[in-house]
Every structure is written in C-alpha cells, then in structure tokens.
Symmetry: C2
Subunit: 368 residues, 2 copies
C-alpha cells in the first residue's frame, strides 16, 4: 500500500504548507472595533537633509520650486527630502525579500529604483493641507507609488512600448524576463490594496474604503489602462490624433493617478467633501501639467538628462503638445495650468498649503 | 497669437474631459454614515432551472454532487443554477461597454466566457452557512471571479504558458493581441477591488476592509503570483520537483483564491472568528482537492472533454499527483481531502451547510 503512505505524506505536507489565518482576520470582523495595528513594518528613517535632496531633486530643482521670487519661507528642499526618505523607507520595509525570491526581487528592483516619489508626496501634502496627521496617509502614499511602478513595468513590455531603459536602468523584463515582469506588476497592483487595507491606522474605515475605490478607479478601464490602450491603438503609425484624444490619453495615463494620490490624502486627513472637491480640481490641473511638461522635455532634453529615451515622441510621430502648440505655446499652457491649480488652494491655510503649491510649481518647472 | 488660442482651447477641452468627482466620494468620507447604494448595476435575472444547469453543470455532475446515496433533500442542481445565473447577471452588469471599447470588450470576453463560477458560489455559500444574507457577498463573489479570470488571461500569455485555448475559445491574446490581454488582466484585477469597495452593502466597513486584504493576499507574492512564478521557474524542463514544491505551487496557484472566496463570504455573512477559521480550513482542503482532480483529469480526459489542452502536464514532463502517486493513489488522496473538508462543516446547521458540502463533493468528482 505504498500509495496510501504517499497519500498520508501528502496530507501531512499540506498541513505544514498551508499558511495560518493571518492575525488581521481573527479580529477584523468583530464589528465596530478598530483594525489592529499594521502588521507590515514601516521602517522609520532619520531625516538627512542633503543626502535626501541629492537623491531626489537637483539643487536647480529646489531653487525652481521655491518660486521666481526665491523668498518663500517654506523650505521645499527640506520638505521633499524628509518625505522622500520616509516614503523610501516605508517602501523598502513594505516589500521584504521572501520566497519565491525572484518575484520579490523584481518588485523591489522597480519599486526602489529611485523615482521622484511625486505621487506619495502629493498624497501626504494633501493630508496635511486639510489638517490631518501625515502618518495616516503613508500607506496610501506608498500604494500610489506601487501602482505607478506596476504601470511602468507593464508599459515597458515588448508588447507595449518596448522600452529597454527606465530611470536610467534596464527595464524589468530586460532584467528578469517578460514572464516575471508581468507577474511583478500584477503583484504590486494587488499589494497596493493590501497595504492600504492593513497599513492605514486611526482613520474611519469608511474613508479607507473610499481610498480603495479611488485608487482602483485610477487603474482600470477609466484610468491608467484606458490611457495606455488609447495610446497603443490611436497614436503612432501617423494616426490623426486631435486635441480631444491627446488629452484623453494624458488624463488617463498620468492625471488620474496624481488625482487619486491627492484625493486619497485629503480623505485620509479628514477633509470635508468641499475640500476634497477643491483638491481634486487642483490635482486634475497638475496632472495635465505633468504631461505637458513631459512632452516639452521629450523634445528639449537628451536621453542622459531624462534618464529615459528622449525624442521618442518625434521618432514615432506621436501627437504631443509641442507638436500642436509649438514649444513656446506648450510652455504658456503649462504656466496657465500651474496658476489655475494654485488658485484652488486659496482658501486653505497658507502655511499648510505651501507644500502642495511648491509641488505644483516643481511639476511645472522640472527638468527631468 | 495663434498659440494662445490653442492654449485656451486646451484649457476648455480639459475641463470638458475631466470626469466629475464620482458620487461615492462626495459622501463616503463623512464619518460613520453608511456608504451610499452601489452605483454599479447588479442585473437581477430570473431563475431558469434547466437552462442554468445546462450552462454550468452536466446532468452527470449534478448526480455526482448529490452524493453516492442520491437521496439528499438539498437540490444541488437548482442551487447551482440559481447562483450561477445570478452571478453571471451580476458580472454582465458590472463590466459595461464603454470607451475605449477594445479594453472593455476584452474584459467581458474573458469574464463572460462561461466558467463554472465555483469561486463565486463558494463565497455565497460561505456567507449563507454563517447565516448571512447572500446579497452581501455578491460583489466579493464577482470580485473573486474577476481575479480568477485575470490570472487565466495572464497565465495564458505567450511569455507564460503560451496557451491558445481556454474554456473552448481562443485565449485573450489570440483574440485581442498581447498588449490588450495584459491590460485587460490589469483592469480586471483593479476592478475587483473597486467592485467590493463600491458594491458591498449593509456590511460593517471593517469587514469590507478585511475582504480587500484577504483578496489582495490571494493575488500577490503570497498568492497566485507566487504559485505561477514557482511553476514557471521550477517545473517543466525536467526539474526535479518534489511533493513540497508541488504543493506550494498548487496551494498558491489554486487554493489561496478558493480560500479567499470562502473566507470573504464568511466574513461578509457575519461569521465569528471561530467560524471563519473552520471555513478557512475547509477551503484549504478543497483548494488542494481542486488541483489534485485537475491533475487527474489532465491524464484521463481528452482536450474536447476538458475544453482546454489535455495531456499538457505529461507533454511538458510536469510533476503531478498522478505522476507521484499513480492515478489510483491520487484518487484516494482526493477522497481523503474531500472527507476532511466536510468534517469542518460538522458544527454548522446541516441545512445551511448543505451547499458547501455539495460543492466540495462536486469539486472532488467533477469531470472537466
């Protein structure tokens, strides 16, 4: 009865391999009680000003973001350094190495590749502008970066934009193969929601659910995916793309996730519906601004300066703002969007509004 | 100043294209108030017994699931028909056609391709066994099916298992191209969380958050993705795969999502922590059972009978239960798992437990 023994061995193995019920589930469904503390370690980092800035922004960036007058009291460089280091530490602690190693390595490779962390900063700054404790927004801030990273991994695939270089490093599929790159993106996408659900503390649960909804909407058929599919199907191959379609693509590929980042921060910080609405409009303006500036940089900067392939839009005959408006016209449009965004902040406390206003200016004037 | 006019046109266009704040966000962050009704239409369908069964199970399936004695009062065929039709209607109403058409068409193509809906049924039956209103579990039930569908779309890709046939139809990338298939999977993955967040009604919000966590864990580096990456890296190419690794793969590729389906249903139905724990063990047993039966069917049935490529495991020299235990040994193991699963239901009301018990038997005895 050799097979019976093996059957018993199978049963014993199964018992050993099945993971136990995670602690959250033992206590999360008991009614109105608060969720238990986040089981995911958010590694606190010390704030090292100069090192942090160097990793994220150039000195020129900091000067630009401080505004033309250069006399603003708010220290944007310090703010960015502090938040970026905290976010980087939180992301580092969120995705830990475990088996199967290759998938966690691939997730970490792209997630910790040194992006500017604009989405997390917007999320945290939006939490602060409505008077919230920024720690309430950290899991959502990290989740927005996870979604951003997964969209880059999948957009770079050979069957999509077929890019070899991202943030100055080989793209995920170049490092790990296409199959692992697809799966690393899937895993980051799902983990973003897990991280919000398990990591968000001291926030009314209805607000956490609203964030799950907001972030999910930014991904799917009304978000990033809609923008990417429109981009694939309608641009390139000299398709006659007008302004309406160009903006549909930009809004969906870029603006919706910036919008979700800001709106999640405002919701988690305890913002009123009116405040959330104002910040949503702010975010929509800077979302489009971000893409207009991207288009300008693509035709005015080198690949080395950008850390990704420059001139790609021209090479593929893509419709862009500089192509439609000329470079100067596109710059005028960018300035207009930046001013309109900042107008949405007029009714907030000016000290608390300073980080968001400076981030808007930085997005408008960035050089890479 | 032609460019100025274009700049103004851009601004006007942006205002028209930006989506307004969705209604849920205007009221969801006001504190302890309940979430507003689901904005996603769940299409109610009439219950047509025979038509429904025909679409989901063969007559033979129904006889088998009714147990060896064939005298059980619970009408499994009617139950399955009723739930499957309701779930199919809900899925049909969840993903509606809109722009960009191709992505929504691709999502619907795979989602409505006529799967057995085992995960949604387990979710609803688990809600009922703890005395919950089954409608509370419908969004989560649909979400589990969306996740299952996205995993099939991505697993079938040329860079993964490279399958041309799924549920008797061309796979997503064969129909829509690889790029749309990747994006359709991404979109379904995100939409699953949106659907739970916006669609779940009359349930304590902490329980909804616990479901988001449970479902997300079933996808990522501890779930489907972990199983798929282990499968890709370790099986095929005559790798020497032992029982431990085989079970790691099966548990992650199949069992964790069945587990999440059952556990979400139990949580949403108001189950106690002890009840949820018992049902989690039940689900782990039937999850492994499902895969053991899949392995047996791969070597004993034809492609036509299965609706997918049969004999693939043998052709690729994959380690399977029949290979390790022999076909009879694998059948014995399957019977043992089924009995152990049903033992977990002993303390529940027997009428309420009948659907889950019958589903376990069906999973153990299914022919495709």
């Amino acid at each position: 009865m050799g097979s019976m023994n093996l059957v018993d061995t199978c049963a014993a193995n199964s018992a050993a391999i099945f993971r136990p019920a995670p602690p959250i589930l033992r206590s999360a469904f008991v009614g109105a009680a608060r969720l238990p503390p986040c089981p995911i370690r958010l590694k606190k980092t010390s704030i090292a000003h100069s090192g942090g800035v160097a990793a994220i922004l150039t000195e020129e960036d900091v000067k630009l973001a401080a505004g033309k007058e250069g006399r603003r009291e708010f220290d944007f460089g310090r703010y960015v350094a502090e938040k970026a280091e905290f976010v980087n530490g939180a992301l580092d602690g969120a995705v830990v190495m475990r088996q199967p190693a290759v998938i966690h390595e691939a997730m970490r490779y792209s997630l910790l590749a040194g992006g500017k962390r604009i989405r997390p900063m917007l999320c945290i700054a939006a939490c602060e502008i409505v008077g919230g404790d920024p720690s309430a927004a950290v899991p959502a801030a990290c989740a927005a970066e996870m979604i951003h990273t997964m969209s880059l991994i999948h957009d770079d695939l050979p069957c999509m934009d077929n890019d070899d270089l991202r943030r100055g490093k080989p793209t995920s599929h170049k490092m790990f193969g296409e199959n692992v790159a697809v799966l690393a993106g899937d895993s980051l996408l799902a983990f973003a929601f897990e991280f919000i659900a398990t990591g968000t503390k001291d926030v009314a649960p209805e607000r956490i659910i609203a964030c799950v909804d907001e972030l999910a909407k930014a991904v799917g058929g009304d978000g990033l995916v809609a923008g990417q599919v429109a981009d694939i199907k309608l641009t390139g191959n000299n398709a006659d793309v007008g302004l309406d379609m160009l903006e549909f693509i930009h809004i969906h590929k870029t603006a919706v996730l910036l919008e979700a980042s800001v709106v999640m921060g405002a919701i988690l910080g305890g913002g009123s519906p009116q405040q959330v609405d104002k910040l949503r409009i702010f975010a929509q303006k800077i979302g489009l601004l971000f893409q207009v500036v991207d288009d300008i940089l693509d035709v005015t900067m080198s690949s080395e300066e950008l850390g990704k392939t420059a001139g790609k839009d021209l090479a593929t005959d893509k419709t862009t703002y500089p192509k439609l408006l000329g470079v100067e016209g596109a710059r005028e449009f960018a300035n207009k969007l930046c001013e309109e965004a900042k107008e949405q902040l007029a009714e907030f406390d000016s000290d608390k509004a300073a980080p968001l206003a400076a981030l808007a200016e930085y997005i408008g004037r960035r050089q890479n």
